[in-house]
Amino acid sequence: MRIECPWCGSRSEDEFVCGGQSHIARPEPATASDAEWAAYLYQRDNPKGLHHERWLHRFGCGQWFNVARDTVSHNILASYPMTAPKPELPDANGGEA
């Protein structure tokens, strides 16, 4: 894979580390149930298709950013800064969870 770092441009996959699913909101620790907390810690969408995930340009600028990638074809549909909202993108695999 070639990955588009928002700061450094298109670079080879081996400069990056994948940090898993992005856009996970932490529930309120004081009021979340054990099940909610466990889901927050451990449950991921793990879709067969479009996936929004975090990557770290470890052997580059050292920045975290987001990537929207198809988990079957590995095609990258978008790459965007950490704080940007989740972009609306087509899911080639019909969004099987």
Partner: protein
């Protein structure tokens, strides 16, 4: 089922090997079963076999979207061992290794188990210290393991780079002598043949596309070959666990990633053990055909693309060539990938679920081949009794909310 034996071989040889019976039936899918198992890998087939053999249930279907053993069961590097770290794991995997030791006889199918011993190499002083603790923990649990010195390893594995300038210096290691390899296809075929002869319907090219649930209970499945009624459904679909569980509305703490393996061209016997290097993520063995079988760590990003990234192939081969310089002059013959189901603590989940009648076997990740006999037996028990088998009670789905993880990822490192 015609028993395989020296006599059968002789008899069929006289007939020019033209009259061997089919190893398993290929029946039509019925409209109703007492139990349906999704996934015709080792775990699904073994579960069906033990349901029929131990629990006397024979109206069972195993539904496989591709071909038998075409998933991870036919893609792995076939390593079996029981040197995990936590007692829950050691108990389970030791039971499974014992299962392998008698499986050929049990199934009347030669699974070609070779207990050639599994050596873990320590490539730093610190790793050796951790290995001593690990090996001792296993001994305390009554499982064979033995710390090895650098010189011992040099004689046992002459291929290793033991020079003073080695990038990965070998400080020592430990061995489980009963660990070894077997023929993975034979495990799938042996269970399929034995299950089929007990009346289990094995349906290939049959994909489950939906699960019917009403009032919190399983009612049946939709498949590419029509609907089937059942109120007991077992799932053993490895990398597709979250996809299939979602059909029943169940979310799982599983991420799918690719794990690769590769083989070299065949050479004369030169390696008598499985040798693992946990720190540098590379392990090798030699197959009966002479190929050097090489494996490593999983690709780091979620994936359903059953092929693997070049980066990971390179990383594994870099380590392999450093550790075993003679490999650098050999040709790589094949490389492939499987989609493995990884749980946060790198331990399996064999469990009931919030949906009545829906049972799961997942989280086998990079190391569930060795678990097939025990995984099948315990899932069968869990389905038949609607209660977990004692060996898998600690491996239930609710352990995550209870905070009772069995963190083999941290304790025993990469596991194959």
């Amino acid at each position: 089922m015609e028993r395989y034996s020296a006599f059968a071989l002789l008899k069929n040889a006289l007939g020019g090997h033209r009259h061997w019976p089919q190893a398993w039936r290929s029946p039509e899918l019925k409209r109703q079963y007492d139990v349906v198992i999704i996934g015709g890998g080792g775990h699904g087939l073994a579960t069906a076999y033990y349901l029929a053999k131990v629990h006397g249930i024979s109206n069972i279907a195993v539904l496989e979207k591709g071909w038998l053993g075409g998933g991870n069961t036919g893609r792995n590097t076939a390593v079996s061992r029981s040197n995990y770290f936590y007692p829950e794991s050691t108990r389970f995997y030791e039971y499974s290794l014992k299962g392998y030791e008698s499986l050929g006889r049990e199934l009347n199918f030669n699974i070609m188990l070779s207990q050639i011993g599994i050596i873990n190499l320590a490539c730093s002083r610190h790793e050796l210290e951790i290995f001593r603790r690990w090996a001792t923990a296993i001994q305390v649990q009554g499982v064979d393991s033995e710390v090895l010195g650098r010189e011992q390893i040099a004689t046992m594995v002459p291929m290793l780079n033991m020079s003073a300038s080695a990038r990965y210096p070998v400080h020592g290691g430990f061995i489980q002598r009963r660990g070894g390899i077997s023929r993975h296809d034979a495990v799938a075929w042996g269970y399929a043949r034995a299950a089929s002869s007990l009346g289990v319907d094995i349906i290939q090219n049959c994909e489950v596309t939906g699960i019917e649930v009403s009032d919190g209970c399983v009612r049946g499945v939709k498949t590419s070959r029509g609907s089937v009624r059942t109120d007991k459904l077992g799932m053993a679909v490895a990398g597709h666990s979250t996809v299939v569980a979602a059909m029943a509305g169940v979310k799982l703490p599983i991420v799918s990633q690719t794990l690769q393996a590769m083989v070299s061209e065949p050479v004369k016997p030169c390696l008598d053990h499985v040798v693992m290097s946990p720190m540098v993520h590379c392990y090798i063995s030699q197959s009966d055909r002479g190929e050097i079988v090489i494996g490593g760590g999983a690709d780091t990003h979620p994936s359903y693309g059953q092929r693997g990234s070049l980066q990971s192939t390179e990383a594994v081969l870099n380590a392999a060539v450093e550790l075993y310089p003679m490999l650098s002059r050999m040709k790589l013959m094949r490389q492939w990938g499987g989609i493995v189901d990884i749980a946060p603590d790198a331990s399996p989940i064999v469990s009931k679920t919030p949906v009545t009648g829906f049972y799961i076997s997942t989280g086998w990740g990079t190391g569930g081949y060795k678990a097939i006999p025990a995984g099948g037996e315990t899932l069968a028990h869990t389905i038949a009794h609607d209660a977990p088998h004692p060996l898998v009670e600690p491996f239930s789905l609710d352990r995550f909310a209870r905070g009772r993880l069995i963190d083999e990822g941290a304790a025993a490192g990469v596991a194959h």
